[in-house]
């Protein structure tokens, strides 16, 4: 869903034959961003091993410009939440997310990060990281195959391609009114306080007709 080209496609193609390349700032900017996504080197559980396998030689995330895993959130664009999020770990994840500079994206990898997965009934397992931070791409699987992570990566690139820099509906990270940091949950008597951030978490409404 790339945004509309700045000029007529046929004219652009004609100009390109003459060695003239016309583009818009937005297209150029998004092209650069989507081809150099630096993920946070951050593994939680089983899915992290598949994340490493994706970055390793057979699947080779470098083909998509995402091989530069940074251990510091200050240098990362993308957080891959790879594994079970426990209630002890959730505050640290929100804190890491807050430390990442804008624009930042989140891939929720695997059933555990989406909803708690097979460990959902556990008393110490968070039922999905989207309760505290906004998630851009979800990949189901336990664990998802490396191909699935590559697919999620491509979906994210498509999303970045479609982000507008100006006007109405511009990207959230350019909108001053949209928060880019979220409150860190605290350990309460029985559960994390609050159990979910109402500004972020919008569970689907089930309606019967």
């Amino acid at each position: 869903m790339a945004s509309a080209p700045p000029i007529d496609e046929g004219l652009r193609s004609e100009l390109q034959k003459q060695g003239i390349w016309v583009t818009s700032m937005q297209e150029l900017y998004n092209w650069g961003r989507r081809n150099s996504i630096w993920p946070l080197q951050f593994g939680l559980a089983c899915c992290a091993i598949e994340m490493i396998a994706t970055a390793a030689s057979r699947y080779d995330l470098a083909r998509f410009g995402g091989e530069v895993f940074r251990p510091s959130p200050r240098q990362a664009d993308l957080m891959i939440v790879a594994g079970t999020v426990t209630k002890k770990m959730a505050p640290q994840i929100v804190r890491l997310y807050n430390q990442m500079p804008d624009p930042k994206y989140v891939i929720s990898m695997g059933a555990c990060a989406i909803s708690g997965g097979p460990f959902k009934q556990g008393y110490n397992v968070l039922k999905g990281i989207d309760r505290y931070i906004p998630v851009d791409v979800y990949i189901p699987g336990c664990p998802p195959r490396p191909e699935a992570l590559l697919h999620a990566f491509m979906e994210l690139q498509r999303k970045i391609d479609g982000q507008k820099l100006t006007g109405t509906g511009k990207a959230a990270f350019l909108d001053k009114t949209v928060p880019s940091e979220f409150p860190v949950p605290a350990f309460g008597a029985h559960d994390l306080e609050p159990p979910a951030n109402a500004d972020v978490f919008h569970p689907p409404k089930i309606e019967r007709h």
């Binding site: 080197q41 951050f42 593994g43 939680l44 559980a45 089983c46 992290a48 091993i49 598949e50 490493i52 396998a53 390793a56 030689s57 057979r58 251990p71 959130p73 594994g83 079970t84 426990t86 002890k88 770990m89 640290q92 890491l96 097979p118 460990f119 009934q121 556990g122 008393y123 110490n124 397992v125 336990c142 664990p143 195959r145």
Partner: protein
Amino acid sequence: MSLSTRAQHSAVEAPPGMPSRLDGELLEVSMGPQHPSTHGVFRMNVALEGEVVRRLKPVFGYLHRNHEKIGENTSYLGSMPYTDRLDYICSMSNNWGYALSVEKLAGIEVPERAEYLRVILAELTRLVNHASLLGFLLSDMGAWGTPLMYAFRERENILDLFESLSGSRMMCDYMRFGGCRCDLPPGWMERARKVVDGFPHFLDEFEQLITGNEILIARTQEVGKLSAELAISAGITGPGLRASGVNYDLRKVDGYGFYPRFKFRVPLGEHGDCYDRLMMRVLELRETLGILRQAMDDLPAGPIMNPKVKIRAFKPPVGEAYGRIEAPKGELGFYLISDGSGNPYRYRVRPPSLINLTVLEDMCLGHTVADVMVILGSIDIVMGEVDR
């Protein structure tokens, strides 16, 4: 650089007017849970004097997924997929350990072919685990990328075998009490032989790259020494114990499965330092290849499942059982108490990773903070098993 020169280095006089570096003031550093080399979400509170570790306190529980509680609330068969996620690098060994204890609890016989298949798969898992460990350990030491890429290249070949057999790359869920879930697909054995035959090439190449490497020797020899007495009294098992020179391998001691039928040696270390622990893995890989070849040659035909066992609605008699195997990381035990109902009354896992981690502080004291990562890497932990 040996330990003695390092100690001299840290005792260098402070510049005039500055407080001495050895004035006894300790700097508290929290390493983890988000750290590139902690192998998951593990945290250590380290007290440093200059660069030297004076105190180290591990903090667990960032991956506590209630494995045992869930196991007590689900059927015996229902726990099998959860065991895959204990030590997520070696799911086949975990399956075997759990199946073994349920078989002990209910007195189930396993057909011969299934036992052979279990040996083959558990040893293939050992190849995966030790190869990945070597890659991770070297990347912790700063050899960014290359050794891990080599290790994962071999790992992918073995995971292909697991996938064609069980349908999943990592979470195989393959073994059942009383046998195995399904028989080998056509052509599997030929492919497995090819993988096993190609493995020594990787091992030779890898050994050539690491054994004579001066940096590796300086970083690992005489670092993180573990004496045999301490290792025994702390309950260390697996390659970490054998690196200290204690001849204890459950495959020989218990002789579970069909291991007494195979000829293999148990490599032993001398010094109990990180180098010995590293080389222990390389030597074990060579022995594992020998076991695999023997098992593949001898694999008999026949059923793979004991037909008398009803794995669904399975209700073992009242009693308790402890089954243990030599997992790649050490003694993996499952303790089950049955009250005669469909789910265990008590279900307890004895994880090798957690118990091997208890001596981390003893091994790290007096070394620099950079050595902590090497020592932790040489213990070989997986957080899924430590926290469960």
